[in-house]
C-alpha cells in the first residue's frame, strides 16, 4: 500500500478552510460557558444550598453521559421540538430546519463545557485559602470586592493548567460536530476521502492539523500563566 501524497497535499489545503469553524466553536464556547461556569463555581464554593445542589446535579448529569450521546439526543430532539413550538404553538410560518447546524454544535458544547469548567474553577477557588477572604472583610472590603480583587485573580492562575486541558479537550471534541453536519476539519476530511477511499491519508492530515492547533493552544496558555503568576516568582521584584 502506498500513500497518495498528492491527495494528502490537496486535502490538507481543503482542511485548512475548516480551521476557522473549529476555532470559532472552541472560543465562542469558552467565552460563553467560562464566565457562567465561574459564577456556578462561586455559588458552590459559597455553599449556597439550593443553587449549589442544582449545579452539582447538573455537573454530575453532564459528566455522567457521553458527549456523543448528548449530541445525538440534542440534534434529533431540539430541532423537532423547536419546530413544534414555532409551527403549532406560535403559529408562525418559519422553517427551523434552515438553521445553520453550527447553532446546535454551540448548544451542545456550551452545555457540556459549562459543567467541565464549573469543576475547573471550583477546584481553583479551593486553592486560595479562606484566610485571604477574611482578611479582605477585616480591612472593610465587601465580599464581592475581595472576590474580584484578591480571590479570583489567584484562582485564575491555579485554573490555568486545567483550563488549558479542557480547552484542548474541547478543541478536539469539536470534531464531533461533523455529526451535526457542521463543516469543520474532520467533516471536510471525511468528505474528501469518500471520493477515492483515501481515508488513511485524510486522517493523517487531520492528525497533523489537530496536533499543530493543540500545540499552539498550549503555548498560548503557558504564556498567559507566566504573565498572571508574577506574584509567585520568588525573585525580588
Amino acid at each position: 500500500m502506498e500513500l497518495n501524497i498528492k491527495f494528502m497535499g490537496e486535502t490538507l489545503v481543503k482542511i485548512l478552510t475548516g480551521i476557522p469553524t473549529t476555532l470559532e466553536i472552541t472560543f465562542f464556547t469558552l467565552l460563553t460557558a467560562g464566565p457562567l461556569a465561574f459564577l456556578f463555581a462561586v455559588a458552590r464554593a459559597e455553599n449556597r444550598k439550593v443553587a449549589g445542589r442544582l449545579i452539582a446535579g447538573y455537573v454530575s448529569f453532564i459528566r455522567g453521559t457521553p458527549v456523543i450521546l448528548q449530541i445525538l439526543f440534542l440534534y434529533s430532539l431540539l430541532p423537532s421540538l423547536l419546530n413544534h413550538l414555532i409551527r403549532n404553538v406560535l403559529q408562525l410560518d418559519y422553517n427551523i430546519f434552515n438553521w445553520n447546524p453550527v447553532i446546535y454544535a454551540y448548544v451542545v458544547f456550551i452545555i457540556n463545557n459549562l459543567a467541565v469548567l464549573t469543576e475547573v474553577f471550583r477546584s481553583a477557588l479551593q486553592t486560595v485559602n479562606q484566610g485571604q477572604l477574611e482578611a479582605g472583610l477585616a480591612v472593610g472590603m465587601t465580599k464581592r470586592q475581595t472576590y474580584l480583587r484578591i480571590i479570583i485573580p489567584q484562582a485564575m492562575v491555579a485554573a490555568m493548567p486545567n483550563l488549558c486541558n479542557s480547552t484542548i479537550g474541547l478543541l478536539k471534541s469539536t470534531s464531533l460536530a461533523y455529526m451535526m453536519g457542521v463543516k469543520e476539519i474532520t467533516s471536510i476530511a471525511r468528505t474528501a476521502a469518500a471520493y477515492g477511499y483515501d481515508y488513511i491519508e485524510a486522517y493523517l492530515d487531520v492528525f497533523f492539523v489537530y496536533l499543530v492547533l493543540c500545540t499552539v493552544v498550549q503555548l498560548i496558555f503557558k504564556g498567559i500563566e507566566k504573565r498572571i503568576s508574577v506574584y509567585k516568582q520568588r525573585l525580588a521584584g
Binding site: V128, N129, G131, Q132, E134, A135, G136, L137, A138, V139, G140, M141, T142, Q145, R149, I150, P153, Q154, V157, V230, Y231, K232, R234, L235, A236, G237
Partner: protein, 250 residues
Amino acid sequence: MLEIRNIHKTFGGNQVLKGVNIKVEKGDVVVILGPSGSGKTTLLRCINFLERADEGSLDFDEIHTELKNASRRTVNKIRKKTAFVFQNYNLFQNKTALQNVMEGLTVARKVPREEAEVIAKEALDKVGLADRYGYYPSQLSGGQQQRVGIARAVAVRPEVILFDEPTSALDPELIGEVLCVMKELAREGVTMVVVTHEMSFAHDVANRVVFMEGGVVVEEGTPRQIFQSPREERTSQFLHRVNRDYDYSI
C-alpha cells in the same frame, strides 16, 4: 468605647463561649491569655463578625447591636472601625506589600490613590519595611509578612486593632521583631486587644490582662495582679506551668 456583653458561641455541639463580657477603653492594651481551646480566638473573631455569635450584644461608640442579627451595614461599619492581625498573616498573595496595605484604604474607604500610597508607605516605614514596598508576600520572611499584616491594620487608622496570636506561627528569632512593633504601637496609644502566649508581652505592655478558660473569663486585672497575686487557683496554675516553659531549670 467597646463593650461586649454575654457573648455565646457554639460550634456543632461544642460550646466555645459561655457568656463572656469584655470592655475596652480608648488607649487600652488588653491581653487575653488562656490555654488552647479556651475561646480566646473565637471571642476576637466575633468582635468583627468573622464569626457570628449566637447570643450577646455589642456597643461600639454610638453603635449598639445584637451580635446575632446585626445588619450587613452595621457589620461593615464595625469592621471599618476595627482591624485584624491574623495568626497566619493572611496577606493578599497577589499584591505587593504596598498594595496589601493600600487595599483597605483605596477599595474599602475610597481614599484617593496618591493619598493612600503616602499613608501606606508611612505604615510600612513604621514597621521597618521601608525597603520592601514592591515585594510580594512569597518573597518575605514570616516576620516581615506579619509586619506587613500589622502595617495593613495600622494604615486604616482603626479605633482598635485585634491581634490573634500574631507571633504563634513565627520561629523564635522572628518573634522579637513583631513584638517590638506591637510595643511601639502600644506606646503611641493605639488601642489593642491581643490574644497571645507571649507572657513577657502581657506583663510589660498590657494595662489589663484577661485570663480565659473553658469559654468563660476566669479572672481579669492589671498585669501586676494577675502575674503576682492571682485570685483564682486556675490562673496561677496556668501561669506557673507556662512560665516554667521559659525557665530551663528542671
